[in-house]
């Protein structure tokens, strides 16, 4: 995919993306309704368990997004193609949204179960650090108009920031935390397992859709800016 100054075929909104969006929305709503309706109240926390169907998938896809950021940052440094930088930035933005959501959902879940909205637990703190790193990554991108410099700086932050992802994942194993260990197939009761798997998958589809949609919006914005620059140059050359 090139970033030529002419209107490239990439600077359009693909029709398949709209179809993908509708399929994602249907899968998401169906998955959520299925899990909420079919899961019985938990013995310890009652119906509060239903927050699991948004909290766990949000945290999961947030970390997945930052792995995508790492992959595209490495690709950018290797290939020096702006499309890799745009994809990394798209994944970082979507990942930041899901990290913020995971923190907010966890806080709302924590209040009735732990008695506090927030505690400086290793999992919560490392997740908050992850949010700050990627918010920093996005802020850094606005510091310079030089595309190459912006991409290079961002790639460095994207790669260094990814170091925190395994820290978040293993924080509940490495330190004594109030947060429970991450659920897996063996630790989750059968009556909750299907809803948990379905929502992990639907959130994965959702995050893929959002990253790809954000990437295409970035391509459109970039094409629009290039056209505006061309026009400005054309007007200037007429006056000269």
């Amino acid at each position: 995919m090139s970033f030529s100054t002419t209107r490239s075929p990439s600077a359009t909104w693909p029709k398949w993306l709209t179809t993908f969006g509708w399929i994602t929305a249907i899968l998401l709503v169906s998955g959520q309704i299925y899990a909420i309706v079919t899961s019985p109240p938990d013995a310890a926390m009652g119906d509060l368990q239903k927050i699991m169907y948004i909290h766990v998938p949000s945290a999961w896809v947030a970390m997945m997004s930052f792995i995508v950021v790492l992959a595209y940052c490495l690709l950018y440094l290797w290939k020096h193609q702006p499309k890799h930088d745009l994809m990394a930035a798209s994944a970082a933005e979507v990942g930041t949204v899901f990290t913020a959501l995971a923190i907010a959902q966890g806080s709302i879940w924590g209040r009735p179960t732990w008695g506090v909205w927030w505690t400086w637990d290793a999992r919560l703190t490392s997740t908050a650090v992850m949010l700050l790193i990627y918010a920093g990554y996005l802020t850094l991108r606005s510091f310079t108009d030089d595309e190459e410099r912006r991409a290079r700086w961002s790639a460095a932050v994207g790669i260094l920031g990814a170091i925190n992802v395994p820290i978040v994942w293993y924080s509940v194993k490495w330190w004594r935390t109030i947060h429970q260990l991450q659920s897996d197939m063996s630790s989750i009761s059968p009556e909750y397992r299907r809803g948990w798997i379905i929502n992990a998958l639907t959130f994965t589809v959702l995050v893929v859709y959002l990253i790809v949609a954000r990437y295409h919006v970035s391509l459109l914005q970039r094409a629009g800016e290039q056209h505006a620059e061309e026009q400005a140059l054309a007007v200037r050359s007429v006056h000269v």
């Binding site: 909104w13 913020a100 959501l101 907010a104 959902q105 959002l210 459109l220 914005q221 094409a223």
Partner: protein
């Protein structure tokens, strides 16, 4: 607040943010398409 109050708050925040993000994304798309269309005239 009851358990269902917390559940409603968690789901409300989640879908409020997701819908808000999506609407913002579509607005950016419309603006970018309009800018391309305008420059093509």
């Amino acid at each position: 607040m009851s358990n269902w109050g917390y559940i409603g708050l968690a789901y409300g925040v989640t879908y409020g943010v997701l819908i808000g993000y999506f609407v913002g994304l579509m607005r950016k798309r419309r603006q970018a398409l309009a800018a391309i269309e305008e420059s093509g005239k």
